[in-house]
Symmetry: D2
Subunit: 350 residues, 4 copies
């Protein structure tokens, strides 16, 4: 009810603040007898880690995850998995200046309004650092999906207005922007340098494709698969829009254009993005998320303080220019968590 | 878990098929001592009713709702409200031809894949008729919101590519398209006639604005208010994209453009759409939904039957040209249900 | 959250007041393709019906249940089942005298304290009449259990201090007390007549045995099968104690007496009542419930009214002498609902 | 769904195995601005700790709890609290002999049946050690109850057949048995020595009294306060029966004896145990739990191994003679968790 739990069968509860002792996640409902070690979680965590990308924040987060329960002799036991990542390299003093001020575009104002108290250090619970727990859990979810040969591919479709034209999945992890178009990635790099020089930040679009999802996943009427994916993806901090399949473009299509003809070999097009009436149809599931620019910018901004008095603010320190590409594995994780949950839910329909 | 329940405190469970005996909803968690009668639900139900709009399906659905429990001497008692709408004017024979065929763009194929059985008559549970229960429940939710003076305004922003330029809320219910721009509504009417003549259908965009929402609603991290609204709105059949505030446009903004400056008098702009870090900030909440064209068209389409054999299909009978405007009160209802739930959830934070 | 829903996968939500228009239940999560008709629910409903038993209340409740959704051509579809029983023979005037008075042993005082309003007619939502929905839902749950050959046997073990000595399951439904001991039933009948003459009422004990339950059902640590059964059975109005297996007697056993030895052929005794560490072990599940005497008695009692003033009260009208035996099918229903839910939950462990 | 979460608003999720690296609990939904430090949790944890009591297991468990999130500058923030207790003094080798054998009275057999894998070391997740997380969470729950001046008193009512006759709450923590009757405690001590010498173990009864609970807590119809307490208490490993108020004795009472008369000053008796129709009535809440003897005994027992072959077993090593009194703070914790949850749930009824 307080919102830190996601999923019904494959159920994750995350906890932790950016500058507290640790962050973590408890996964309840992971099936038993799945091989699992901390090393299995490292690849995705590395992709989310700042500093890996050329333009990203220099804060070092080794993000070493420990598995504190639920694994015995290298396999899951069916009991809760507790994953913990300790915070190191925490420089809370950097945030002393922000204690009394609400940063525009951040949760400072709303957390204060909601709780009457907030941990101002690095955004506290509202920090992007919270997503480390999502990514770790998502890697476990992928282990569940692996048994059914379901793959989740995520990448940067657009950054700062530059859009990938080719979708070469093989090169996604080969460039700093997790972009499937090498040429676009080069233009993105230039754009990032320009904006960095201006003390500003950039938004973009992330796309996720799910391959091998069997038909039948999703629950009418409120827990439609697309509705659940929309919640999952919109729950990632910087996301302001979610599209399924043709997405916004459907608004200007005719029915005869938008309907995907069905053939004995499958769907002849995929405007539906793999989901019909909230249930997967066996085609590729396609989800896109619009990501807003990082709100922490060094350009001067207008705001107020705790007392309601006007203040002007210029945010210094180590900050990314864009949530992209670090957000790519986070959004992928949310899609994985959603699918693992619905895959297990579908087992009760028999 | 099977997806027919929405909300945590203000909790609705809907049931019923298009051509079964009735549809309904049970509302658990409605606070006691709220004046309520069936008449209170009529206005919103009337807006959703086909035949009210010029171009809409001629099927008569008087949609008279009965309250079977939870009200005593004109007030809610705190026990479950059971609302029922009986189906009348049901012509199931119309659907005999569709028993063996999967209509493109509909849930026929996926329901069959999921359950191994389906009620093919009028879409069964996947019918737009299911939304009558949502609208009735939404009208009750509004009663809860009324106590805190929270208003939900919904309208057609775009239909068939024609976009409202003026937002005159006073005229929304005065035209057949629930459009806040009278001139645009006239162009829409022409466009609908053209497409009708071609046996095709249209999509569009619905926008919802919430006024008077206090700051503090929404639960980090998975049940962010925008995430919950995204699920709520995406759970409406024809919706394929959901935007909050500036929505998709944030992808191409700079941080300095996108951040809403904070002043002693409130936020100086509203790209955030009233939600920061998943929590309402006191500004107007703005949600948009992209609505796909009605998939039932009389133009010939390619599909398969239960045996997997190719079939060509032309859907005759009474069908709307667009889910708009009937979908407007449905999307408004989902927003109301979400807000009533979060308003009550926030009471536990004390 | 407001407590009218039970179960996680096989999920029932009940609604309705004793003297409102109807009572009912929505079942979400019932697997598809189970043959079901209203007639299937009649047998259990008949056992719960007053007037069937010699000493029971003369109010006629035909309790004809209607299935309003979720069944197509005689089979469940996987969508919600809506079951409704209309109230007839409702004489609300009988309760006018009780409008201002809190009946001892009833929920009058606590409903008023909780909600600040209550439907005083016949106990409203707190009426035993509410259980008609549970019994109907339990009959559907049994259909799910039937597929795995799980049987639930329930009976009166004790009434007014008279305890069954023989457990002849074959005669349970042959006597007015649903007692597996014909001789005990005759003594019970005499005891009931005596107490009736005194204007008083009786308590007793109901026992339930589940046969054929596979090992493995139940979820550590809070949703242990015995914990869930305890909640389920204690949620029936008149129940004040729940025992599993040897129950209270374990408090005075030695470990060497209480432990059930395990042999290649199964457990050599069954003090555990078929549940170890909260998980079924394949032996018979044994649950007992202590049932308090009906609080509505014609003997004069001391109470207060809405204004807090002392009142003396003698409750006239049609009332049972004991919740037994009508409560027997209700408790059986709660056990069935619990088991059906855990049976389906166990499917996700794979 | 997998059973490791308890509560709806005040929601705890526990994790951890007896011989894994750590055990812990995440508390979501704790209200903000409650003063909290690890020291606040120590008193209850100390009561649960083995070795404190004369007859208890000599294993040292310092049980130092760390708060990893949710507290800022000494106060809760409204975000999840993560509490961790690291396992030390873990001698897993002691359990090697039990790897292939199912101990009678333990969860070995059922965990294997459910999951097809189990951590055999010290009972794994089924260990009584799991309750350290419950007690820590219960201490936080008490902080919530403190704000409403609700007190929970728990004690040993009976051990090995010896029953407390006096209820002197002031001396509960002054004797090794947490017994409110000093004379009875002395007899208990003798009984424990006898049984210890025989290599056997003892059961007993724990009673809990809640003082200062306001009327109105509890949710009809399935989440009655007594139903929730029954689940909560029965979810503690060794408990086989739960009574509310007069409990089992109601079965042999007349209605005129059992009904608690209501006077302007309150209820004249308390057979109801403070709960009517599932809702607290303002009187003292009384719950009793029957606790089975510890199943680990050194006397020889009959069982089978993983291959289904007969084995005889005598369990050596450090084991308590009874779950009493260590279980007393555990049962108190479950009552606290239940009440804190219902107290917060009641806030939505307005």
């Amino acid at each position: 009810m307080a919102g830190n739990t996601f999923g019904q069968v494959f159920r994750v509860t995350t906890w932790g603040e950016s500058h507290g002792p640790a962050l973590g996640v408890v996964i309840d409902g992971c099936p038993p007898r799945i091989p699992l070690s901390a090393a299995d979680l490292e690849e995705e965590l590395a992709r989310r880690r700042p500093g890996v990308q050329a333009h990203a924040t220099p804060r070092r987060e080794p993000d070493q995850v420990e598995i504190l329960s639920g694994v015995f002799e290298g396999q899951t036991t069916g009991t809760p998995l507790s994953l913990v990542v300790y915070n190191r390299d925490v420089r809370s003093r950097d945030y002393d200046a922000l204690k009394e001020v609400f940063r525009p575009g951040h949760g400072d104002f709303t957390y204060q309004a909601k709780y009457g108290i907030r941990d101002h250090r690095g955004g506290g619970r509202a920090s992007a650092r919270e997503t480390v727990a999502r990514v770790a859990a998502g890697a476990v979810a992928q282990k569940v999906l692996d048994r059914d040969h379901i793959q989740v591919v995520a990448y940067t479709l657009e950054l700062g207005g530059i859009r990938a034209q080719n979708l070469d999945e093989g090169i996604i992890w080969d460039n700093h922007f997790f972009c499937p178009d090498a040429a676009a990635a080069q233009v993105m790099a230039k754009r990032v340098q320009e904006v960095k020089a201006q003390g500003d930040s950039l938004g973009g679009v992330v796309e996720v494709r799910v391959k091998g999802c069997p038909p039948g996943l999703g629950e009418p009427v409120f827990d439609k698969l697309d509705a659940a994916l929309a919640q999952a993806v919109m729950s990632v901090g910087a996301v302001k829009a979610v599209e399924i399949g043709a997405g916004l473009a459907v608004a200007r299509m005719l029915g005869s254009e938008n309907n995907d003809p069905i053939t004995p070999g499958g769907f002849a097009s995929n405007n539906a993005g793999g989901i019909l009436a909230g249930i997967s149809n066996g085609a590729e599931i396609v989800v896109r998320a619009a990501v807003k620019p990082i709100p922490s910018i060094s350009r001067e901004q207008q705001t107020i303080d705790l007392a309601g008095q006007p203040r002007s603010l210029s945010i210094k320190g180590r900050h990314d220019i864009s949530a992209i590409p670090r957000i790519v594995p986070v959004i992928a994780a949310m899609v994985r968590l959603t699918l693992a949950d619905f895959l297990l839910r579908q087992r009760t329909i028999k």
